[in-house]
Amino acid sequence: MAHLLGIDLGTTTTIVARIDASGAPEVVRDWEGLEVTPTAVAFESASGVVLGREARAMADDAEHVFTEFKRDMGTGVSHPAFGRRVTPLDLSALMLRKVREHAEAGAGPVDLAVITIPANFTNAAREATLEAARRAGFGKVHMINEPTAAALAYAHAAGGLGEGLYAVFDLGGGTFDVSLVRARGLDVEVVFTEGVQRLGGKDFDARLLEIVRTRFRDATGEEPRPGDCDFGRSDAEELKHRLSSRESVRAVLRSAQHGRVPVTVRRQDLESATEGLIAQAEMACEGVLLRAGVDRAALTGVFLAGGACRMPAVNAAVERVFGRKPLLRDPDTAVARGAALYASHRADPALLSPSQRRRAAEIRFQDIAPHYFGTLAVDEDGAMENSVIIAKGEKLPVSRTRTYYTAEPDQRVLTCEVTQSAVAESDPAMVLRVAEVEMPLPPGRPADQPVEVTFSYDLDGVMRAEFKDLGTGRPLVIELKAEGSGRGSLNVSRIRLD
């Protein structure tokens, strides 16, 4: 029997699922016996590391405690910790290593792990996640977008979905994604997806914390100070959970100076404070329908994933925007269970037990390009523009070729750039330049030499760009890896758009 893991490495929590002997996904309890593990890393010394719940408990008052680092994956962010700097990649690798060691202690070496990522993760963030998994000691790793994994989990839980178009609304701890999927049974095809990188339960917690601070100030006439008032983010999160089932809740803040300070927060207060956040999720949902050219009346069902979906205001917003009541089933673990199912789909069938193989054979899966990829070119008027080669929403694997021409006689250098954007942009200032390499050209040639540009995007989300000067037949290949996916400089491209 193959040991297959699905890992939902979330902004605030990490959940792991595995495929059992029958081929069904089951949640793996962590080293403390619980299903949900806080994504938190604390350094006690240069070599002493604490993870999960224990680290989270230290988060409100310790200096070397790191949480929510997923939001900074693939960026240049790093933090000091006992004389060295740690990156989100390092911290993710530590979490994943602990997860792997715990899983292997119970069931032997992991054959394949699937890690979930937000749908709008940049290429750099995707590669950083893969690199973190490699550093954590996982041999074979794949990735899947979180809402897509949730769709697989819902399909499996329902014993296969009726043929139709479904929306998956995934409001996690730190990121928000919405996907449209076409499904029949366990055959899931992603149609389009949108995401907001910084929208999740923790933003709601922050608003609630602000409300509580205001109440404290109203009651005592003073600002709550660290060290005096002990109400932190984890308390705000707990209060938010209570507000999901009650109209108003009472919390008692303990202050060294003022003693016990009772505060009351109504659900309506939280909803007023977070209406800007919920409206963002609504716009992303409308955006996904708009871009996919789908009317909401065409939807067969709506699924919810992510713990933040338990909030009544979020539920109401989903119903408002999609025009139908959403289905909420194990929102915390749906993504991890879906990832485990995807692992069984991607695993070598020879490794699977007959039951696992039978279940895995039922799964069909079709993913899409998560971003627009293009290159910079100058148009007939000499203005630089972003020329899209692979469009977001194209089915994977995809390979597209476009021909461009050199702009000047005796052009010696071709600047080959790869751009990425979440919307179809022609403005070069609005796209992320993920790679830039100069290709030397032979001297003495007239302008208008053809250059064939081929972009390919595989099932694991690895982008490959090939720039081929047809005159010499010499190609320049750019493969986007974590090490080389820094921001490009602002050099003007010398490729002319056909």
């Binding site: 800007g276 409206a279 963002q280 609504e282 716009m283 409308e286 708009l290 979440a422 942009e425």
Partner: protein, 211 residues
């Protein structure tokens, strides 16, 4: 030479010379040709459009000719970051109504600034109407707080649009702004993008009232 022709040419010249000598200099002073530097921008010439008046105001503050202020580019780069308060004051003098002292002001083009100031002026003039269900973006914009109104102008919301169209436009703008978070290299820039996204969310909430 014909004496008639000589008289016809010389007579008007003589009359003009006499008028120049005898005219009342106190009533018609010679135009001042020297340029005075003032701390405040002078009023724009009458008869200009709102966009031209906004461009004129920005131009005078920056000390450049009004024709050098593009109508479709934000005024921020011309004025610099310290120009926000000065621009707000100058626009108030020009249009007679106070604009929001918001960072968004510098991100607006003269056309958008003109539209914003017209909205603000109209709002001040209009008597409070009995509450009715809003049907156009303008109905909603009439009651928006000034910073959100400035944002609506920046995002190109038109007051005459039906609410459904305005919401769709806002959704597209939201997705465009959302994509910018990947371009922000520094934490402060990412925070700024996030704050703007939330402001768009509040704007959307206001537009949803007429659903």
């Amino acid at each position: 030479m014909d004496p008639f022709a000589i008289t016809a040419v010389l007579a008007p010249c003589a009359a003009a010379a006499v008028w120049l000598l005898l005219r009342d200099r106190r009533r018609r002073p010679a135009a001042r040709r020297t340029r005075r530097r003032t701390a405040t921008a002078p009023a724009a010439p009458a008869g200009r459009s709102d966009a031209d008046r906004a461009a004129w105001t920005a131009a005078k503050l920056a000390g450049v000719p009004p024709r050098d202020v593009p109508r479709d580019r934000p005024v921020g780069p011309i004025l610099g970051t310290s120009g926000r308060r000065r621009l707000a004051d100058a626009l108030e003098r020009e249009f007679g109504v106070a604009p929001p002292d918001a960072e968004a002001l510098l991100g607006l083009t003269p056309v958008q600034l003109g539209r914003l100031m017209r909205q603000l002026a109209r709002r001040r003039k209009e008597k409070p109407r009995p509450r009715r269900r809003p049907s156009t973006a303008g109905d909603v914009m009439a009651s928006l707080p000034a910073p959100l109104l400035a944002l609506a102008s920046e995002l190109g919301l038109r007051s005459e649009w039906e609410l459904a169209r305005a919401r769709e436009h806002l959704t597209k703008e939201y997705l465009r702004q959302n994509a910018r978070i990947h371009l922000a290299a520094r934490e402060e820039e990412r925070d700024a993008v996030q704050a703007k996204l939330e402001a768009i969310g509040r704007l959307r909430k206001a537009l949803a009232a007429g659903r």
